[in-house]
Every structure is written in C-alpha cells, then in structure tokens.
C-alpha cells in the first residue's frame, strides 16, 4: 500500500522522522505545562524586577499569570516555532537537495512520474508530516493541562495549532522551493540557517527600538501566537505567510520543471 505513490512512500520513509519530532514537541509541551505551577509563582516576583529589554529573551513575563497566555507566549510563541523552523529545514533538505545528491530524484524521474507530480506529492507529504507533528503536540497539551488542575480554551489551542502549521509550512515552502529549484545544498543551508538565526536574534531584540524596521526580516515577526489572546488574528501577518507559502513553491516549481537534475 505504501509503495503505490511517491506521497505514500515519502510518508513511509519519513515515519520515524515524524514520530521523533512529534515526541520531541509533545515532550516539550508536557514539560512546559507541568512546570507551569512552580513558574507561575516564581515569575510574579521576577516580573517586578526584570528590565523590559530582557523580556525579549523570555517573552512577556506578565504572560505567566494565566495558563492560556503562558502557553501562547512561552510554548507556542518561542519554542514550538523555533523547533518547527529547524524541523522544516531538515525535512526540506532531505526531500530536495539530499534526495538529488543521493541520486534518488533521478531514479524517480526515470519512471513515468512528472516533475510536477513529484513536487506536489512531496509538498503534500510535508503538510501531512507537519499536521501529524503539530496535532500530536496539541493533543498532548489538551491531555496534560487537567493533570495540573488547570483548564485551557480548546478553541485557542486549535488556533495556535493552525498558526503553527501555517508557519511551519511557510518555512518549509521557502527552503524546499530553493532546494528543489536550484539543487544547491549550500544555498538552502545558508538561507535556511540564516533565516533561523536572524529570526532568533531579532526576536530576542524585539524591544530594541532601532531594530524595529529589521523585524520584518524575521519570520517570527509574522507569527503572532502571544498576541492571539489580546489582539486576535493579525490578518496582515497571516497574508504574508500565506503569500510566501504560495509564491515560493510556485517559483521553485517553475525552476524545477526545466532544470538539470544531478
């Protein structure tokens, strides 16, 4: 059954990858939730003394007051997207340049499979892998919260999951499109790692005034988990993510259709 299409075979091939990342993200969610009761008390006193410039490193301290805001700001606004960016880079590399370097892409293209079909099936496989990973994290979040005698707005959790999914797919789309469009591992690595590092640095410095303009370069700037409760969805930021999610694969596909395969 798993060998009937590239989509199914890619999912079969990446099953341990998806499982590993699901465990990692779920484990982190469990850890963050179970730590909440003790952090909740400790952070109240820290919040009173911490300079606002340092808050960029740990998120807004006032968010520790409620579980909803704590999870939005600490788990889904910093850690989950960071892990998802790394996961997207590793997955995109593996499905584009690594597959080409290993000669597997050439083998697949020697069959009656079109480049377009290969491209689309790989994108769908990535969507499913991210959906599984994020769903498992969400499920674990929902199941763990009652264990610390707290409750959480289920709708908020699903919104966070949707935001995480779109964010992960955007990062994947950027690096995968570069990889499939050029076949250059070094280009994918430099752009992928560059995006992660720049996003982390700018996120840490988000309270620094003179970095305001540069914030737009950070992918995390468009990911608004912590503001979801206070400001609702930022449709402008969402549009940027969906725009990149559409434009980058389109450009990658157009280039991939006619380029030389190693």
């Amino acid at each position: 059954m798993f060998m009937k299409s590239i989509l199914a075979r890619t999912l079969y091939d990446k099953r341990w990858f998806a499982l590993g990342w699901s465990f990692a993200l779920s484990g982190m969610a469990v850890l963050m939730i179970t730590m909440y009761p003790s952090l909740h008390d400790g952070m109240k006193s820290i919040a009173a003394t911490m300079p606002p410039q340092l808050q960029g490193l740990v998120g807004d301290i006032s968010m520790f007051g409620h579980l909803d805001t704590y999870l939005s700001s600490q788990l889904y606004d910093i850690r989950i997207p960071l892990f998802l960016m790394i996961m997207a880079l590793v997955l995109a590399l593996s499905l584009s340049t690594s597959s080409e370097e290993r000669g597997e892409m050439r083998t697949l293209l020697s069959t009656a499979t079109s480049r377009t079909s290969l491209f689309i099936q790989t994108m769908i496989a990535a969507m499913i892998i991210f959906a599984v990973t994020i769903s498992s994290t969400i499920l674990v979040t929902i199941l763990t919260v009652p264990m610390i005698n707290e409750s959480i707005d289920i709708l908020l959790v699903f919104k966070l999951a949707t935001l995480s999914f779109i964010f992960a797919m955007m990062m994947f789309a950027i690096v995968y499109s570069i990889g499939i469009g050029t076949g250059s591992r070094s280009l994918v690595m430099s752009i992928g790692v560059g995006l992660i590092v720049v996003s982390i640095i700018l996120e840490a410095g988000r309270t620094v005034d003179w970095l305001d303009l540069a914030q737009k370069v950070s992918l995390l700037h468009y990911y608004d988990a912590s503001k979801l409760l206070t400001d609702g969805l930022n449709f402008k930021h969402l549009a940027v993510q969906i725009g990149l999610l559409v434009i980058m694969p389109l450009a990658g596909w157009l280039r991939f259709r006619n380029r030389d395969i190693a």
Binding site: R9, R102, R106, T111, A112
Partner: protein
Amino acid sequence: MSPRNSIIYVDNLVKKFGSVTAVDSVSFAVKPGEIVGFVGPNGAGKTTTISSIMGFIKASSGTIQLFGDTVSPAKAFTHHVQIGYTAGDMSLLNNLTGRQYLTHMAALTRPNASRQQELIDALDPILDKKIKTLSRGNKQKVALVAALQHHPKLLVLDEPTSGLDPLMQEVFLDLIKAEAKEGATIFMSSHILTEVTSICSRVLFMKHGKIVLDSSVTDIEAQAGKEIIVTADKKTLVGLLKTHPAGLLNPKQSGSTIRFMYRGPINAVMVWLASHKVKDIQIRDRDLDSIFHDMYKEGE
C-alpha cells in the same frame, strides 16, 4: 534518417556545463528493433547524452526526439512509460527492501509488471533486505528487474552490467537478447567491449564529446583489416619497411619482429613478403576489441 521512423532521434545535440562542452554537435538516430552500443572512454560524454535523452538535463541546443516526440525535462515523463532505464551507478531508494522498490517502481511506471517474476527467477536478487544493506551487484540486479519488468519498448542502459559478476553478466545479456527478439529497441553504453560486440548490431563511438564512429558491427569488422607479425633478421626488416605495399599501418619493430596492421588485398602482402627472406609470418583478423582499443588510445 527522419525523426518519424526513429525511436531515438538526436540532432545536433550540444550540452555545455559553464565553459565546458560535454556534448558537441552530436547527431544519430536509432531505428525500431536496433541494438546500439554506445562506447567511448570516461568523460567522452556518453552519460551526458543519455541524461539528455532521458530528460534529466536540458540540452544547450539541438533536438532530441523519442518515439517522434520532442524531449524536454518537463515532459520527459510522457515517454518513460515505454522506457526501461538503468545505470551502473544508479541510486535506488535505500530505505526500501528490494521487493518494495520493485512494487514502487512498477506503480510509478504504470503498466503491469508482467515480467517481474520471470526476471526475479533469472537474476535471483535479494528482495527481503533493505537496499542499503545489499552489495553493489545485488543492487544492480534489483535495478535491472525494475528496468525490464514492464516490457519496455525502449531500453536505455548506462553501463548496466557494472557490479555484476561474469556469470550474471551472461544472464543479463541473455535477457537483453530475449528483449530484442521480442522487438525492443536497445541503446546501451558500456565499457565492456565484448559485451557490446556480442549483442549490438551497431556501435556509436564517442570521444571528446563527439561521435567519431557510427557503424554496424559487421562493417567495422570488415574494415578492421589484418594484424601481421613478421620475424626476420634486422637487415631484412629494414628492407621490408622500405618496400612495403600501400595499406600498411602502424608498423612497430621490436627486436627481430615487426608488427603492423594491413588493410588491402592480401595477395600484395604475400608477394611483398615472399620477395624477402623472412623467418616467420603470422596473419590474423583484428577483433573489435583491438579496434576499440586503438580508438581509445588515439589522441590521448
């Protein structure tokens, strides 16, 4: 030959990688049912030509047609349903077992894999272990089954027997002959010249990005001439070389022996040699191996 009655039609193909011209104005056509051997030294441009035919790479200029349709990377897949392709250094999908790989490749190539079991019986590949754990020879067997299992009309084989032991090479060549008997067209690159001469009806010899020979095996053999070795004392050998007939090529003297190629009427040689005091004469047909060997060496 017109592209319409050719399975493969290559016209003025040029492929450049930056400033390097890997394939330089190559033209040839392969008719239905032909078995064409594609030979040449490493770096001659054979794999680049095959990659262009398969649509893996885009020609810098020129035309390639398969089954009468122009090949481009974007639409190459439309022809692959009728093609069985394998390469000696082909990378299989390492995380699958041999059996999973064959199922996957059959599913992607669409027609039924009607010959799969027959090929498995003939080549005896290991199918229940992950491909990454297999030896090169066993990987090559799996790749060959995948290439032949759907009864392709055209077989494009790039060094197909590399990694196979001599016994398996023989089994593979028998399979190719059987495919050819059933009407398949075969285009095969190889370094093993005996392999080419034993099954191919025509040979394309490529060197420095150009086709330097395109001829039937029988024509090459007919034009191959003779190799003649004459033993005599040194004074006689000097005299021999001063009076030799037309058609004598590449004389090489070693001690009291002179070895040369000869293309021309054999009577003229006999008369020439009879007029000198020679001790021994050996005359033999040149085989294709030695002809190719000379071509490999030429211009090195």
